[in-house]
Every structure is written in C-alpha cells, then in structure tokens.
Amino acid sequence: MANKKEQGNGRAGLLPALKEQAGSSGCLERGAMSAVCGRLGLPLNEAFGVATFYSFLPVSPVGKNVIRACRCLPCDLKDAGAVIAAIRQELGIGPGQATPDGKFSFELVGCIGACDQAPAIMINDRVYGELTAAKVAGILKSY
C-alpha cells in the first residue's frame, strides 16, 4: 500500500533526519540535504522546502550556541527589549547574525512557553527566565 510505504521509508523520515543533521552540523548544507534525500528516495527540493519552513532547521550558518530571545507580548511587557539590547551589546551582533568566532548566533523568536518567567530566552535547549539586562553577561560567559 502506497501510504504504508511512504510512511516507512520516505517522507516520514525526512523531518527527523533533517533535525538530526542540523543537530550535529548546525546548519543544513546542500550536500547534507542531498545525502538525506538520497537515502530517503526524495528529490532535493523536498528537503529544502521542509528545512526552510521550520525555524529550527537553519539553511545558513548558525553559531555553536543559538540564542533565541522571545519578543512576544508577555515577555515584551516585562521588558524583553532591555534583555535583547543587552545581548546585542554583549555580543556585538544583532538578531539574525552570528559572532565572528562562531560561538553564538542570535535570533528573535515567537513564544517559547515561558511566559510565567518572562522575560525569557533559550540558549540551545535551555530556558533562562526572569531575566534582566544585568544577568545577560553572566549567562553568556558560562558558554
């Protein structure tokens, strides 16, 4: 049955495979996507289409540690702006950029589900809540 086959070895494996690749190499380069598609029997454009849809599947280089600062309403009300400004100042980069040494990259994101600890950021998989501009430097130094 076509559905079953698709489920078993093709499409359904795409997102987990791309995530695994992004987890190990940071960014999804053409060669890596091509290899994943070859394994799953899919054309390359499928991988590119899927990767560019999801925010955790970067197709351009990201830092070793990815900082995701929430700028949605609950965090914004608790002065997420000051936290974002502190990150910007500390690292010398703006949202969408990576530090020259490749250690950090920085993004502004939608709600990360830590509104009770607003303002909050994520660095990789870890959430830091109840932030102030003053706390930012110490947190970044621990990486």
């Binding site: 499409r11 359904a12 795409l14 997102l15 791309l18 925010s55 599947l57 609950p74 830590a114 509104c115």
Partner: protein, 417 residues
C-alpha cells in the same frame, strides 16, 4: 471561588519519573476499568456524555470526535496528542507534561482502546525538547508494566513552527511535509494522518479522560456551563504578581482568575493568545467558557500604563511571522496589517487606516483557510471596538507630527530628537 485542581491534581504530588508514585495515587485505575470492564463503545459514550470538549481552543466534543474516528473506515487508525503548545501566553501543557507525564500516558492508553488505534504520537514542540526524556521514560515504564500492549506511543518532535499546532498542519509535519494547513473537509476523523482516520487531542483534554472514567460522566458534567463542562487550566502572565498555571471550573469569571494571579490596575486582558480577544476592564465579570472567551486558556493582563496598539502590533508581528503562507488572506492580510500597525506606531497613521484594518480583518476572518488567519482578525476588531479612542489619539498625533514636520515622513523618535 478557589481553584479546583483536577487535571493539575498530580502536579507536584507525584514523582514524574516514577510510575509507582503515580500508581500510588490511583494512577491507571481508569485504564484498568476501561480495558477490563468497558467496551470501546462504552468508553466513547461515557466521554460523550461527560460533555468533555477540546482544550486546545476549538472546543469540539471529544466523545463525538472519537466516535467519528471509531466508525470511520480505515486499515489503521491513529491517535495524536497535540503538545505543540505555541500560542502566545500559553504554558499549561508544559506544566502538565513535566508534572504528570503518566496522566497523559493513561489518557492516551484509554483513547487508544476507544478508537482501536495501534499507533499514537505525541507531537512535542521543539522548544519543549527538555521534557522529551521525561515523556519517553513515562511511556517506557507504562509499556514495561504491560499497559501499552494495544498501542505504541511515539514522541515526535516538531522543528519550530507555531502553525503545526493546527491539526492538519501537524499531520503534514509528521508526514515529513511543510507544516501547511489542509483544506477541510475531509476532517481528520475521516481522513487524517496518511489519509487514515485520526484523532488529535490536546494534552489537557486527554488528561481529563482518566478522571471521567474513574468518577463518571455525571460527576464531570455537573461542573461548568451549558456547553463547557469540567474545569479549565489557565496560563496567566503579563501584569500580574503571581504568574502561573491556575485551574478553575468552566464559567468562572475573568476577575476571579486575575485576582488569584495578583493582577492590579488592569486596563485590558488578552484571552486566548496572540489571536485572542482583547477585553477592556469593564468586561472582567465575563465568565470564561467556550460560549464566551476561552481559547487555549492563555490570559495576558495589561495594566493602565500599557498601550493597546503596541500590544496588537506585537501580536501581528507574531502572526505574520508564523503564517504558513498557503492561503492568500492570511499571508497577505497579516503582512498589510503589520505594516499599518507599524505606521500607527511610528506616528504616520491616517484615519483611513482604521477602515482598511476593519475591511481586512473581516475578509481574513471569512476567507482564511485555517484558524490562524481567521483568528488574526480578532485582536484587531476587538481593539477597534473597545479601544477606538486609542487609535484616534494615535492618528491625531500623526496629523500633528506631519504638520509639524512639513509633511516629511519622520518617526516619533526622530521628531523628539
């Protein structure tokens, strides 16, 4: 009225890593009852009779959904737990999953019996990856005890897309596609994951199930309003001194919830996330239920120092970012709305912007493919309705700025400088 902790009852009381501590508090009793003493049709009729509705926002009858899936033809049937909690201001599922993962596993196990699913997925948003281990552990422990002989449960991690909380986008995501919404009908109970009958329930919905099986439909339906039974778990944030998760009987009023969370000087409340209603302080006595305002139970309080237009601008920034881009009303509508709010904010608003916002909002509500675009209109229309003077003030400021600056386009910041 105080909180009524039913769904939250085990959070903090059980060790989320130990199935024995869950069993010691009566865990899996409902599962045994459903497995040994009830037929699938009996489980479904109990859930239907209880009046349990979807806790993710849409509020559809859970029992009816199960019945449709049970009666649909298909070689396989799938069960999905929607743990892609991405609505702005919502964090209750994170709290439930980390405090009581076995409660969800038991709910899934019972739902699986009811529709004869052999495979279940928990679609967990990537931002909640840190809970994945806890969930996988809970599933493994339940399987080891022999409670999951009828069905496998797999945790499927998302990859960062708000829209994947929309059920058809979620299924596309599991299938390895872009998380774009599908045209409906067919609805998932007829044709869902891999075109097979599928039910998709929110975390909180499934965690109500063991309680209903244990205590009966009548116990459950005695709580709440005509169309909203049981309790609801709320996530409260914003200008409150005790932000957090609160569980109240359906139909409790907004004022009560805000008092529990320590809100003061409240000017407005957004209920249901970025695409939720914006209510003025004069409506704080509104009961919270499917009949009025509820959504996913996100409540963000704004005090009197807050600017409503800035808040809606923030909402639209989010919705515009997260629109999947498949249908034109949502893709283009959120873009234009964001642009208009940007102008209002920077001091270049015009009276005709308000009519444009209203037109756009109505078109999007009527013509968007899924809930995101349809509901994006809500904060816009609500704020126009309840906070019209804020818009007029902004536009008057804009008129002044333009005349002061001789018609040149400047932002407020530049003008002040």
């Amino acid at each position: 009225m105080a909180q009524k902790r039913i769904v939250l009852g085990n959070c903090g009381a059980v060790d989320p890593q130990s199935i024995d501590s869950y069993i010691a508090r009566g865990g899996f009793k409902a599962f045994f009852k459903a497995r040994d003493k009830m037929k699938p049709a009996g489980i479904i009729s109990e859930i239907k009779k209880s009046g349990l509705t979807g806790r993710g926002g849409a509020g559809f009858s859970t029992g009816l959904k199960w019945e449709l899936a049970r009666n649909a033809r298909g070689n396989e049937k799938y069960l999905i737990c929607n743990a892609d909690e991405g609505e702005v201001g919502t964090f209750k599922d994170k709290y439930l999953l980390s405090g009581d993962p076995f409660g969800l596993v038991e709910g899934l196990a019972i739902a699986g019996l009811a529709i004869s699913a052999k495979q279940a997925y928990i679609y967990l948003r990537q931002e909640y990856r840190s809970i994945n281990g806890l969930l996988t552990g809970a599933i493994a422990q339940a399987a080891e005890r022999g409670y999951l002989k009828h069905m496998d449960i797999t945790v499927f991690e998302g990859a960062g897309a708000y829209i994947c909380g929309e059920e058809s986008a979620l299924m596309n995501s599991i299938e390895g596609r872009r998380g774009e919404s599908r045209y409906k009908p067919p609805f998932p109970p007829q044709k869902g994951l891999w075109d097979m009958p599928t039910i998709i329930n929110n975390v909180e919905t499934l965690m109500n199930v063991p309680h209903i099986i244990n205590k009966g439909a009548d116990w459950f339906s005695a709580m709440g309003t005509a169309r909203s039974k049981g309790t609801k778990v709320f996530s409260v944030s914003g200008d409150v001194s005790r932000p957090g998760v609160y569980e109240l009987v359906m139909g409790s009023c907004l004022r009560e919830l805000l008092e529990l969370a320590g809100a003061s000087d409240t000017r407005a409340v957004q209920v249901g996330g970025a695409a939720g209603s914006i209510l003025p302080a004069s409506l704080l006595d509104t009961p919270l239920s499917h009949e009025t305002y509820l959504g996913s139970g996100a409540v963000v309080a704004l005090n009197s120092t807050r600017d409503i237009i800035d808040a809606v601008h923030n909402d639209l920034h989010f919705l515009n970012d997260e629109s999947c881009g498949k249908c034109t009303p949502c893709r283009e509508g959120t873009e234009v709305m964001l642009e208009i709010y940007g102008r209002l904010k920077s001091g270049d608003g015009h009276q005709h912007d308000l009519a444009a916002l209203e037109d756009l909002a109505r078109a999007m509500a009527a013509a968007s493919l899924c809930g995101l675009g349809q509901a994006a209109a809500v904060p816009v229309l609500d704020s126009l309705r309840y906070f019209y003077n804020d818009y007029i003030d902004r536009i008057n400021q804009s008129h002044f700025l333009r005349s002061y600056l001789g018609g040149e386009l400047f932002t407020i910041e530049e003008a002040i400088r």
